[in-house]
Every structure is written in C-alpha cells, then in structure tokens.
C-alpha cells in the first residue's frame, strides 16, 4: 500500500510546501522548460545541471524534507540504473570497449552501448527531477485550472478532476477496508490472505463506485455544474521571474549545443 501513501503525501506537500503560494504558471513554465531541455539535450551535462538546479529548488525553496525527496527518487533510480546497465551490456555493436567474464561467458561491452546507458540515465535524472519539482510544489487543482485556461476541452478537465478525487476515495476505501478486514482476522494465514485480498480487490471497485456516486450527488447538491472553481485567487505570474526562467533556459540550450560532443566514455 506504500505507493498510495506516496501519492497522498505528494498531494499534501503540493498544498503545503513553501512555494505553494507562488504562481502556478511560473512553476509550470519552469518545470516544463527544464524538462524539455533535459530530454532534448544530447549530452549528459545539461541534464545533470537541471537535476542539481531542481533538487536545490525542491529542498531549499519549497522546503520539502530531504528524506521524503530521497524516498521519491529511490525507486525510479533503481529501475533506471538497472535498465541502463542492461542497455550498456546488450545494446552496443560499434566499438568494443572491454570484455568481461559473466556467468562463464565472455561478453564484449561496446563503447556506444555504455554511452547510451549513461546518457539515458542522466536524461531520466534531469527530466524526473523537473517533474518532481512540478508535482511537489503545485496543487493538482491549479494545474487543472491552467489546463482549462489553455483551452483544454472542459470535459477533459472535469473528468480529470473527478478521477483525481476518486483516486483518493479509492485509497481511503482501500485502507479502511484493509483495516476492517484485519480486525476480523483476515490475512491470517496464506489461504485467508488470498481470500481477503481477492475480496478487497473485487469489492474495491464496487465500494468506490458507490462512494463516488454519493460524493457526486453531494457535489451536485451544492451546485456543481462541471466547472472547477477554487477560493484562492491564483497568483499572477511575475514577469521578471518568467524572464529569468527564459534566460536560464536559453543559457542551458546554448550549453547543450556546445557540449554535444562531450562524452563520459
């Protein structure tokens, strides 16, 4: 269930972090431009810079506890690192780098494979940290409001909002159901564990649909008409900040261009 706690916590930080009162447009612009530059950049220099920048912003400006940030990073890092090792081992063919003895087999490692592995790893690091910056500092409702202003069809924004709410309904229903089952001795022993779990998954949908409909009813009863409205006036983006970000992005783009040929291996 830990993934769900993760989403609930990400959501909580989005509403409570030290940057939550800043303009969501600025934050979105910042995150997306760094993200794009990381992904487009051919060498690892720019993604590394982006990773460091956003990490500093997340920890020092938004004041997200570093423990939590590490927890977020840990899981993707492991997967990507493993995958990049695979890419490095299997996916080169141009220029042999070295040979290793693996499980009694002689294995040729190629320079281009290792290079791709490294580049990919750092690209992911830069991109992912930009994405984390966005979600840790910007409440989902603000993101949806921006989408609405950007003329994304209303039905999409509305469905997104509902799905977003129901995700948390799901999580809550799942947790309370799990506790209720434990209190009546579910999950004791393998067979009971299976029975409890299948009952949980099978009924999760039913319960959530039921709860979801009742919540929708309650929303309708308070005049909900498909439009999202929030109380906090969305802070206006600050032009100086936008220009600063633009400048930084251009500088990074130039760096990216200049470092095209820099290789780690």
């Amino acid at each position: 269930m830990s993934h769900f706690n993760l989403s609930a916590e990400i959501d909580r930080y989005a509403y409570t972090n030290a940057l939550s009162k800043n303009s969501p447009v600025t934050k979105l612009f910042f995150a997306l431009s760094l993200l794009l530059i990381s992904v487009l950049s051919p060498s690892p220099v720019v993604p590394i810079t982006v990773f460091l920048t956003t990490t500093v912003m997340i920890l020092l400006c938004a004041k997200i506890p570093w423990r939590f940030y590490l927890r977020l990073l840990w899981y993707p890092t492991v997967i990507v690192a493993l995958t990049c090792v695979i890419i490095a081992l299997f996916f080169g063919y141009l220029e042999p780098l070295t040979e290793v003895n693996l499980l009694g087999l002689r294995w040729t490692i190629f320079r281009d494979g290792v290079a791709t592995g490294f580049t990919t790893f750092f690209r992911v690091a830069g991109a992912l940290s930009s994405q984390f910056f966005l979600v840790l500092t910007t409440p989902m409702t603000s993101i949806l409001l921006i989408l609405r202003k950007a003329r994304v069809p209303k039905i999409i924004v509305e469905m997104s909002l509902l799905i977003y709410r129901y995700i948390f309904v799901f999580i809550e229903v799942m947790e309370t159901m799990h506790i209720a089952q434990e209190l009546r001795l579910g999950y004791s022993g393998l067979l009971k564990k299976l029975r409890s779990l299948s009952m949980l998954i099978g009924n999760l949908f039913i319960r959530t649909l039921d709860q979801g409909e009742r919540t929708f009813t309650a929303m309708s009863a308070r005049g909900y008409d498909g439009n999202i409205r929030v109380l906090e006036d969305v802070p206006k983006p600050n032009n100086a900040a936008l220009a600063g970000i633009m400048f930084f992005a251009v500088a990074l783009a130039i760096v990216a261009y200049l470092t095209v040929n820099i290789r780690i291996v």
Partner: protein, 290 residues
C-alpha cells in the same frame, strides 16, 4: 407551498420499494421533522426533493411547478435549497475544510471576498473556525458533521434539508445547532426540513411532524398531537420523548391525574409537576377538611 409531493413512489433498481404513494406538502417558513424507523424511506424522500432521485411514479412540485430534471432547473433548485447528508464522509472532498465550505458559494458564482466572508461566518456558526486549514479527513466524525453543515449554511439557501443533523454531535453541539436553525428560521424565514431519530429533539424543534413507516406516510400533524397517540408511536419502532414517557408511566401505573395532553419538553414537564403538587395538596386539603 415550497414542496408538494403527489402520489410519489420510488423503487430502487434492485426492486426495493422505498416510497409508496406519498402525498404531502411543505409550506415556506415551516420547521418540519420526518420521523421513522431505519429503512422507512426518509433519506429516499429527501433526495427526491432536490432532484437527486427521480420518482418511479408520481410528481414533485417545487413552488407549485413540477420539478424539471434539466441541469439548469436543478441548479436553480439547489441554489435555493441546501442539503446536508446523513454521512458527512459523502459530502466532504476538498483538500481543506475552508475550501470545502467555499465549494458551494463558489459554484453560486460569488466573488472571492464575499465567499471568504461567508466561509468564515459559517465556520464560526458551527464552531469549527480553528480547523479551517485542516484536511477534512483528519477530523473526528462529529467535526466532519459540523463542517458539512457549514458548507450548506455558507450558501445561504432559502430552505435547508438535513438528514440526521445531530447524530454524532455532542450535546452542546446539538443544542447550538438546533438554536442556530431555530434562529435562522425565525429571523430569515428559512424553511427547515429534517429527518431524525432523535424523538427527544423533535418537540423542541418541529412545528410539523410527518411519520413514515415502510415507505408509507402513516401520520402527520403537530408533534404534541402525534406523540399523544402512544399506540401508533409504539407500533412502528419509535418511542415517545423520555419526558413524555415518564408522564405516561405516572398516568398509567400510578394513576396520577395527569393532563391528557402529555408534556413533551422539560419546561412543560416542570409546569405539570408543579400543577400536580398544587392540586394534590388541594385535594388532600379538601379531604382533610371534610
């Protein structure tokens, strides 16, 4: 007439007949209580009033016009009539208490500072101001109920429908909210329609009482009138208010000369006891003289 139900029946998709040919009408400015055992159809009836459920047969009239189920007509209806749900967990969904209470007023299209004022006021009325920034799912059950009520009060409707408003509230909360509702009723003419199991509260609150049982309307009238019919009350899983019950016993078992119109509230009971003491001594006096 604010609401009128004409031969209303409702059958749920699994075949349960939850309402069976109900006709009644609620006037403006009244304080109406719906009483009935579990599963008698109270919630189902209330959900028809704001167009969340559609009758299987029969009609709902709002201000003498048949209810239309178009989004626009429903929106207008819900702007005028607030609804507080029986289970506050159904009703609260915003990330903070404040935003939840603001949801209704914002949907009414009010400007931000007016909304803010309405929210602060409503939270104060239900005694939850200090929890404004807390996420609703971190509140105790009774606190959630208060917030749910605030969410509706903030919309300043003409009528409020409340499904079990006082269950899970502490006694002070119950009495504060009752007094608040009575005040709104008196000062602003707010119509109140409420479903409840709390028979002790009904005489303090309602001027009109409807009794439901198994989907049927079994009785309507003033609370004093209906509670005198102890047979009826007993027969459908209800009971008289405790105070009334005390006097029933005194009358039946101890053969005391209690007024035929049994007292329902503490203040009525007090008068009755004083009267008893007076007359009793009078009686005895007479007897000793002769």
């Amino acid at each position: 007439m604010l609401f009128r139900l004409e031969n209303l029946s409702h059958q749920y998709s699994d075949g349960t007949i939850a309402l069976d040919n109900i006709s009644l009408s609620f006037s403006k400015g009244e304080r109406i209580a719906l009483l009935g055992p579990n599963g008698s159809g109270k919630t189902t009836l209330l959900l028809h009033l704001i167009g969340i459920l559609k009758p299987t047969s029969g009609k709902v009239y709002f201000e003498d016009k048949p209810l239309e189920y178009t989004p626009k007509a429903l929106l207008e209806l819900r702007r005028r009539v607030g609804f507080v749900f029986q289970d506050p967990n159904d009703q609260l969904f915003a990330p903070t208490v404040k935003q939840d209470v603001a949801f209704g007023p914002l949907n009414l299209g009010q400007p931000a500072d007016q909304v803010r004022k309405a929210v602060d006021e409503a939270l104060k009325l239900v005694g939850m101001s200090e929890y404004a920034e807390k996420p609703p799912h971190f509140l105790s059950f009774g606190q959630k109920k208060r917030v749910a009520l605030a969410g509706v009060l903030a919309m300043k409707p003409d009528a409020i429908i409340l499904d079990e408003p006082t269950s899970n509230l502490d006694p002070r909360g119950t009495s504060e909210i009752l007094h608040l509702l009575l005040r709104l009723n008196k000062e602003l003419g707010l119509t109140l329609i409420l479903a409840t199991h709390d028979v002790d509260m009904v005489p303090l609150f309602a001027n009109k009482l409807y009794i439901l049982n198994k989907g049927k309307l079994v009785s309507e009238g003033a609370p004093a009138e209906l509670f005198s019919d102890t047979e009826l009350i007993r027969s459908i899983n209800l009971r008289s208010p405790r105070i009334t019950h005390l006097f029933e016993v005194l009358k039946k078992e101890d053969k005391l000369p209690i007024n035929p119109r049994l007292p329902l509230t503490i203040s009525e009971a007090r008068k009755e006891i004083l009267r008893l003491l007076e007359s009793e001594t009078g009686e005895k006096k007479k007897r000793t003289r002769t």
